[in-house]
Amino acid sequence: MRDVYAVGIGITSFTRLDYPLVEIAAYPGLMAMRESGLEKIDHLYVANMGASRINHQTGLASAVIDNLSLTPAGAEAIENGPASGASAIKQGYMAVASGLHNIVMVIGAERMREVNNLEATDYVATLTHPMAEYIYGVTLPALAGMFTRLYMLKYGVTARHLAMVAVKNHRNAMNNFFAHLHEEVTLEGILDSPEALTNNPIVADPLRFYDCCPVSDGGACVILATGDIAKKAGKPMVRLAGIGQATDTHAVHDRKEPTDLLAVREAARQSFKMAGIEPGDVDVAELHDAFTILEIAESEEVGFFPRGQGHLALEKGETSLGGILPINTSGGLKARGHPVGATGVAQAHEIIVQLRGQAEKRQVKDARIGFTCNFGGFGNNVVCLTFVKEG
């Protein structure tokens, strides 16, 4: 198995984009090729969830490869719910590591706002179990609400802690040009003031509006290649050192302990083992905070903090930009945005930017090991990636 490096990266703004999905996918691909100096690729993977239903486009990867004028290179679309991005990176890794290809482009793209908000929410709800959850009107926020209620009861997490995640991530996003939301939020505005209930209404109690990520359009790209090609590109060498993936029951009610995210635990364990590092070695991480509770829960399950103490670390500022383990320096899904298929690739993009030392105002000093957790469905399919800086 050969070592695999990130050679080029590209990203669009995550916002409401007035461009067709294929172009939202192509633009970061163009950016990545220009910044790496590459003019050809061997293969393309496109991570996406909604193309066929929301954007009326099947065979997305075939459309994108021609839009980039990169035919006859092979191309496939990868769908793994919200974990599509990291899954596509995993496929790219396997292609290069196995020797099948030398240069693989991985793009994640989504254009959710081509349809109205109700349609988009309903579409994401199709991730749930059809007969045991979907027919009841269960949506992902509903599952997150039920999960949060139990988590608060078991570990003492409060609405204040959830709001702190939102405040932190919004502040981080102010330094991220590509983020969806460039608006700081304050605890006063979303929790304490008399008008907080109108500013921050309940979505699925106890989760409120500012606990849920926005609906975004966007695309991101990472080009993976062998060490020789990476050296020629002249950028700091960032190696994809560890990959882990695990699944859990489809219906959330089937989980033995409903507050456990076992798929996260196992996927992270595999990823660290493959990279040969411990959770404590990580300098910067992108966790999947589609709901603010998930950043707290994942930070425990992957092993950064003891079980039930993630919210205490948050309180102490350990996961803020100046803390010992900054989480979601990009703003996370909460403020950077969550175009479903693009998120996994965008998380990798942020880690690569950090490890290269290009993060400017949101740079984590001397970051050498980065980690991402891409959470599919409601925790039933999780892919974790570990990146390591070399030299």
Binding site: E119, G137, V138, T139, A142, G145, V203, H253
Partner: protein, 115 residues
């Protein structure tokens, strides 16, 4: 006519699973369709709940009560709640009713009331 939600009892090991799985989660030994259909109990304990204020477009209500219940036989089920002040741990009893309607179809599922 009283309706029930059905669980699937593995012919090989007797484990009742809900929802349906092609391979029995307990023994992994069954062949295709080697399940007996058994009605699930309707009484249980409320494990967690939420009120969804942004329900899907098929629902014209302001909020939807949803919960996870642990039934008397140990199986868990997700259902709608028609309970004023739900409490974790309370006893609930279910009835099979129409839980969702779209343009052409009715979908039947379990709705829990205070026991």
């Amino acid at each position: 006519m009283e309706m029930s939600i059905y669980g699937y009892k593995c012919i090989k090991c007797g484990h009742v699973q809900y929802p349906y799985r092609t391979i029995c989660k307990n023994c992994h030994k069954n062949n295709h369709n080697e399940f007996e259909i058994v009605p699930l109990p309707k009484k249980g304990k409320l494990l967690t709940f939420t009120h969804l204020y942004a329900p899907p477009s098929d629902y014209e209500v302001v909020s939807l009560g949803l919960g996870i219940v642990e039934l008397e036989d140990g199986n868990r089920i997700t259902g709608q709640l028609k309970i004023d002040q739900p409490q974790i741990g309370m006893s609930v009893a279910g009835r099979v009713e129409v839980v969702r309607r779209d343009e052409y179809n009715k979908y039947w599922g379990i709705v829990f009331y205070p026991a």
